[in-house]
Amino acid sequence: MAADQHNLAIFRGLLKFKSNQQKIWGVLIFLSIVTIIEVFLGIVKPQFLMVPFLRMKLLNWIFIILTLVKAYYIAWDFMHIRDETSGLKGSIVLPLLILIPYLVFIILLEGDYIFDVMRDGFVSWNF
């Protein structure tokens, strides 16, 4: 793909870069900030984020969302998905977007069920 075909705007056009190199450094700074926030939260573990929310701690939800944000920018800007045709974009992203959440849902539900069985069952697991 020729150099002048790069889409140089990120954050839905909020931030426009003059050249592709500048965009790369900009994305690096953004990813670094997100990672620093993650590490900071992981070390401090603020008490108000330790509350349960949808069967997980709120802090863990924040970690997962920040991870997905990072994954989006790595795929979109470093792997140039932003510059691909919409057909290629869809055929890469859609299978993952459909299959992975489905797998996560059924497997984690099963794990939770087995936890309940082991806790409430008649067999002792801790002897």
Binding site: A3, L28, T35, V39, T67, E84, L88, S91, L108, F127
Partner: protein, 326 residues
């Protein structure tokens, strides 16, 4: 293959070859095929980790207590700093890779060489860091006892609440057996190295030291490991059968055995990807130096290995979250 510029397609020539579906070359599409399938493989692994974790949600090891080392800082409790550093190294090597791809678009051989070189260095540092992380994990820190049911008992000082290593309080008992070496006794019969202390020695030391209590795997409602009282501890230690020092695929002093198994398997599989990425990058790097792509007229190979390299970075972002943060 020619340059990946979009050529106007002659509609009469659609079936005559030369058309690029999705405006991407064959090699790049195949790399994307591989990446999508590998992404599904990794999600299978991470989801099975999640399965085991949900299954043992009330006794899973706390990552902050497991990975506490930082190079040259001995005895300092530094949770997460080292993996955070590793993450930065990998993201940075991803950036140098994009810069190499970008320089390739402008046919700047010197810059591609430099950025490829930096990428390889970053990847090598990352693999080395992972090896160091493994070494610490395998070696262990405090040691623990394992009960017949596979539960891990760790030792604490009840005044300070700090963990105590087995070697610090175990009382040496004369006549305890040593590791049987092949040079002694029956020919060619050896055994794996015995732990530095025996169960009886740990037990004797525990009973004579009033300050020691046992911490079990079970988490309380605040997510901390349950600490038993002295009386409960004295009773609990009788269930111990084995001394565990460090972690391997069968025993794990940090808690649940599955944690160690998944740690070795997933970070190992990822580390293998990084390692093969470094090798592939090296091959492309030498091709750049000898001018293969200059002669070919485009640097698309750099872009293709770049895709793989970013994918490895992408997977690490998830491994980092699910092993160290969540």
């Amino acid at each position: 293959m020619e340059v990946a510029t979009s050529t106007p397609t002659d509609q009469t020539n659609v079936w005559g070859g030369g058309m690029r579906p999705l405006n991407a070359s064959y090699g790049k599409l195949m790399m994307w095929f591989f990446i999508v399938s590998d992404a599904l493989t990794f999600s299978g692994f991470l989801v099975s980790y999640g399965f085991s974790r949900y299954k043992n949600i009330d006794s899973w090891p706390i990552a902050d207590e497991v990975f506490t080392h930082f190079p040259f800082l001995h005895g300092v409790d530094a949770p997460m700093y080292y993996v955070a550093l590793m993450t930065f190294i990998l993201i940075f090597s991803s950036v140098t890779m994009v810069l190499a791809v970008d320089a390739g678009h402008h046919m700047q051989k010197g810059k591609v060489t430099l950025y490829m070189f930096l990428t390889i260095i970053g990847g090598a540092i990352f693999v080395g860091s992972q090896a160091w992380e493994w070494k610490n994990f395998i070696k262990g820190e405090y040691g623990a006892l394992e009960t017949k049911g596979g539960q891990i008992l760790q030792f604490l000082d009840q005044n300070t609440g700090k963990r105590i290593a087995l070697g610090e309080f175990a009382q040496p008992i004369a006549g305890e057996r040593t590791t049987h070496a092949g040079s002694n006794g029956v020919w060619y019969v050896t055994e794996s190295e015995l732990p530095s202390v025996s169960v009886a020695e740990v037990k004797a030391g525990f009973e004579s030291n009033e300050n020691l209590v046992i911490r079990i795997q079970k988490l309380d409602e605040n997510g901390h490991k349950t600490v038993l009282s002295r009386a409960e501890s004295l009773e609990k230690i009788n269930a111990a059968t084995t001394v565990v020092e460090g972690a391997n695929l069968i025993h794990n002093e940090y808690g649940n055995r599955l944690f160690a198994d998944f740690f070795f398997f997933i970070t190992g599989f990822h580390g293998f990807h990084v390692f093969s990425g470094v090798i592939i990058n090296l091959i492309i790097f030498f091709n750049v130096i000898v001018g293969t792509y200059e002669k070919r007229g485009h640097y698309e190979m750099v872009e293709k290995v770049g895709l793989y390299w970013h994918f490895v970075d992408l997977v690490w972002v998830f491994v980092f979250t699910f092993f160290y943060l969540v």
